[in-house]
Symmetry: C2
Subunit: 328 residues, 2 copies
């Protein structure tokens, strides 16, 4: 700025006024300062400029995995809303690791983001309270905040699974298995709850061997499925807890001798082109992201009031796999 002032023949304060688009500078002076800036190849530094205004016009998004086809449209939707508000987006994957979530969130805060959208990996967000108290707007999406009260945008997971399991029951199934994600993940336990509620509502027993919660790694899914399909009381239908599990389940069932009914949570591309088509409880990841981002920017625009909890519904898409009758 000293160089610009010297070259333009004005004081430092005048350069500052021009750069910050303040009043009280003549057009001639503005042009002279601008010419000096151009001549010196001066690079605008938003960091410093925005910090002076107290806003950085950036938000942070922490999710489980940028490469997961469920989170990819969610990210893109957040990005579009951020863009409409002239904000830039930091993104990071927690990889379902609560320490990594916290590290990313605090790194974004240290970089002075104005707001955060978090798909929680952690079940304790008290570490965020000082940041939120200091004015970082925060919205949790897909899973609720842990140990604190905050804005949340969720899907009705239990309700979606109830609908899916009731659909299998309506097609004659009595021995229905549930294969879900790790039990520390909120959506996973909510979906398990929906399964148990639907079985209870149909007055059906749930054998321990019909339920399996754990990592979505293909090897585990494969061996658990094979276990449920063997033994004296094999399942005739399966509800599987997310798109990662569904993809492996489809592979396993494709090589299995008998038809087994399948409903999965989360829709996925090409589900309709498989034979049979895969019936799913579909939620809308882009809508989750868009809703969370809009809520965040309403807060940044000054919307006060207690934390909101928005709950979106999933819905059944019947394509064939969920309509297979029991075969044994």
């Amino acid at each position: 700025m000293k160089d610009v002032a010297a070259r333009a023949g004005v004081g430092l304060k005048t350069v500052s006024r021009v750069v910050n688009e303040e009043a009280g500078v003549t057009e001639t002076t503005i042009a002279r300062v601008q010419a000096a800036i151009d001549a010196l190849g001066f690079r605008r530094n938003d960091s410093a400029r925005l910090l002076r205004k107290g806003r950085t016009a950036s938000i942070g998004l922490v999710l489980e995995d940028l490469a997961d086809p469920f989170y990819a449209p969610l990210s893109r939707a957040v990005e579009e809303v951020a863009r409409a508000h002239a904000n830039l987006l930091f993104t990071g994957s927690s990889a379902e690791d609560s320490a990594r979530e916290q590290e990313l969130v605090l790194a974004f805060c240290a970089r002075r983001v104005d707001g955060l959208i978090v798909v929680p990996a952690s079940d304790d967000h008290r570490y965020l309270e000082p940041e939120m108290a200091a004015g970082v707007a925060t919205v949790f999406v897909d899973r609720p905040a842990g140990q604190i009260t905050a804005d949340e945008v969720l899907t009705d997971n239990a309700g979606g699974v109830r609908e899916g399991v009731a659909h299998l029951v309506a097609h004659g199934h009595r021995r229905i298995g549930f294969l879900g994600d790790r039990p520390h993940i909120h959506t996973a336990t909510e979906r398990l709850r929906g399964y148990r509620e639907a079985m209870a509502a149909a007055a059906l027993p749930v054998h321990d061997s019909w339920v399996s919660m754990g990592p979505t790694a293909p090897d585990r899914v494969r061996s658990e499925l094979e276990r449920m399909l063997a033994g004296p009381e094999p399942v005739t239908a399966l509800f599987v807890g997310n798109n990662r599990i569904t993809v492996t389940a489809v592979r396993v069932l494709a090589r299995y001798g008998r038809p087994v009914a399948l409903v999965g949570f989360d829709d996925f591309e090409l589900a309709d082109l498989l034979r049979p088509g895969i019936s799913v409880i579909a939620q809308d990841p882009a809508l989750l992201g868009r809703t969370a981002a809009r809520l965040l920017f309403r807060r940044l625009d000054g919307a006060a009031g207690p934390p909101h909890r928005v709950e979106l519904s999933g819905h059944l898409i019947a394509r064939g796999s969920g309509e297979i009758p029991p075969t044994h």
Copy 2:
């Protein structure tokens, strides 16, 4: 910092030394300053701190669409490398719009990223020269830089298509269509070049009606495919130019009366579970991202020398659709 200094009973310079972890401060003083910082709820401000050091430990990634299953693993791979270097990641989608690419890139630069990884939408990157001259390390990935020389990590697109088309020729096809993305996209024209070269190498003619370049919107892909499959000289095989087009082509061919051979560029999840399985030229988006990010951080660590151009190979995965013989 004034408040911290007053509370700790030390000077401003001492606070600064403690915050910046400089030498020459006793352990007792460090503890006193730290206690004052904690008591006042002082939030560490990386922006200011890093700017003083000249590095922000952040990089920007501009790609076409965060929600595209090709770019999602690329993003995640870049993120992992950035994380290993303790860098945060800005991401943004250009939506194949060169103005939007430039806007994002310059916004990241104004926010003082140390480096950029760009999947170009633009074919002219001279706007980046001042930033690169000012020290912003830049690597282009998936598509080359336009009008400037820079580090690039690309796939051998023409070579991949040559292999795919030769495979169709080897299975007896003579009338082979090519359905690609918009011709201003470098990968799209490179793939078209590979198609023309493979047809020429097999001494096969290419009718104008067998080639179509344009948006990947399902409606256009559908009508162009239907056109190629009708008329006096219908194609018996198709090479399609990317995963978005493949997905629509699979849908159209599933409802078409006769079997038509199909090879697509880019692998996609569940391609092996469709009937027939879809034969593809697979590239590795995570490897593209990882290679680009590693090259970027080598530059940031001081690696000098002329721009690198890394070219990765695609490879054919035969699953059934590309091995269907001509039927008419």
